[in-house]
Symmetry: C2
Subunit: 245 residues, 2 copies
């Protein structure tokens, strides 16, 4: 599989965080995980316990003795770090990085993203092996992203930018919108009954009041079911009146 970037956890410490990173990746459809020298050895039962549902990523994860080996087959490597630490490298956001990565991967190139250990982050030794640095554009006054959150935001950006994945705004989830004719008939029903009830008074103001009501109905994002509800409550409210008069 070279249709997605590999995420490389470099010297991860807590098994919990490895499991959480696996879940973060799989939330956004990424399943190519690699690890460099996990502190507590491998396999790690705590990681498996915390990966619930994303355990397959751990089973298939490649384990490497050093960062160079972990990215040896990759054509382009990103290093995630909060500080550039005096190294001269291109610096990109997760959004820009994943956009670039999509372009490279579409051309058959292999891309990896390095994530550092929980406490200290990546060392310069690791970062010099990368082609570019990813820095999350946080509040300059406050940086407090943990390993799984860094993985999450990067994986999110991979998926967010993938064409055809993200839906447009859905106006009426799980419901059919009412047709203009249905809305028209609803407006007429109300106008008739309100007229019978003496609502449009004084007569000089009636045309304006009717226009306001028409506009109100057409401005509402009504479903077919909504229209039936409004018909029903009007019938109920006017029972014994109107039709019978």
């Amino acid at each position: 599989m070279t249709d997605q970037p590999a995420f490389v956890l470099v010297r991860p410490q807590m098994g919990e965080n490895i499991g959480a990173a696996a879940r973060a990746m799989w939330n956004f459809g990424l399943d190519r995980m690699r690890m460099v020298e996990p502190r507590d050895g491998w396999p790690n039962p705590r990681a498996v316990a915390l990966a619930s549902g994303a355990g397959r990523l751990l089973d298939q994860a490649g384990i490497f003795a050093d960062t160079a080996a972990a990215v040896a087959d990759c054509d382009y490597v990103y290093a995630t770090t909060a500080r550039t630490r005096g190294l001269t490298k291109p610096v990109v956001t997760p959004e820009q990085a994943m956009q670039e990565a999509r372009g490279m991967i579409a051309q058959g190139r292999r891309v990896a993203v390095l994530f550092g250990p929980e406490r200290a982050g990546l060392e310069n030794e690791d970062i010099v092996r990368a082609n570019a640095i990813i820095t999350v554009p946080v509040n300059p006054e406050f940086f407090s992203l943990n390993l799984a959150q860094c993985v999450l935001l990067t994986a999110y950006e991979w998926r967010r930018g993938t064409p055809g994945i993200i839906p447009e705004r859905i106006e009426m989830a799980g419901a059919e919108p009412a047709s203009a004719l249905e809305v028209e008939k609803l407006a007429e029903h109300y106008e008739t009954r309100l007229d019978e009830a003496g609502f449009f008074f004084p007569e000089t103001k009636a045309p304006g009041m009717k226009r306001t009501l028409r506009n109100l109905w057409s401005r509402m994002p009504l479903t077919r079911a909504d229209v039936q509800v409004f018909h029903g409550l009007l019938r109920q409210l006017t029972r014994g009146r109107g039709d019978g008069r």
Copy 2:
């Protein structure tokens, strides 16, 4: 402050998660937090301990007895939920929601985002009070976002879309790029020394070889410091040769 959306934690359970949510918000410059019926009462020492650095958000958080009260002063309310649960509502991604929110807030409208309790998420009782639903576009096979992660992604989208906040790709973090003249002089230096060393052989191929080298130098993203390094190593390599001949 009405220059940002309020994030409303509805019936949050663990103090740890409240603290983590505060940190997630403040990472992206959001500090208007509200809470509805925190399970373990308020204030909550566990929340304060976990909010390290973002404790101010908790100190200033509004505490409300129910969801209606928490959003009473808001003009537009989003509810975050993984499932639409049969309710007819517009459904948007965090990206779309925060884009809409920026537009509304710029017009002076007040926007809130509801986040449900850790286990069960928001109840329909809460969701019916919202104008629209936010659903994170996760892998359809796998949803595993915790409260702080939902808050994180939404806050991230607020900041990501704010004009002028996110930098362009920085090609040379912390370094001045070399000028074209500096690169030209470097290329000349190498060409001269290589010529002296008999590198451009046979002579018929010399023009092509020189062109290739020129192209190589100009294609490299060189800083001023890089140029000095390259001059220096060439001088060192040719010490006692070239100039002296």
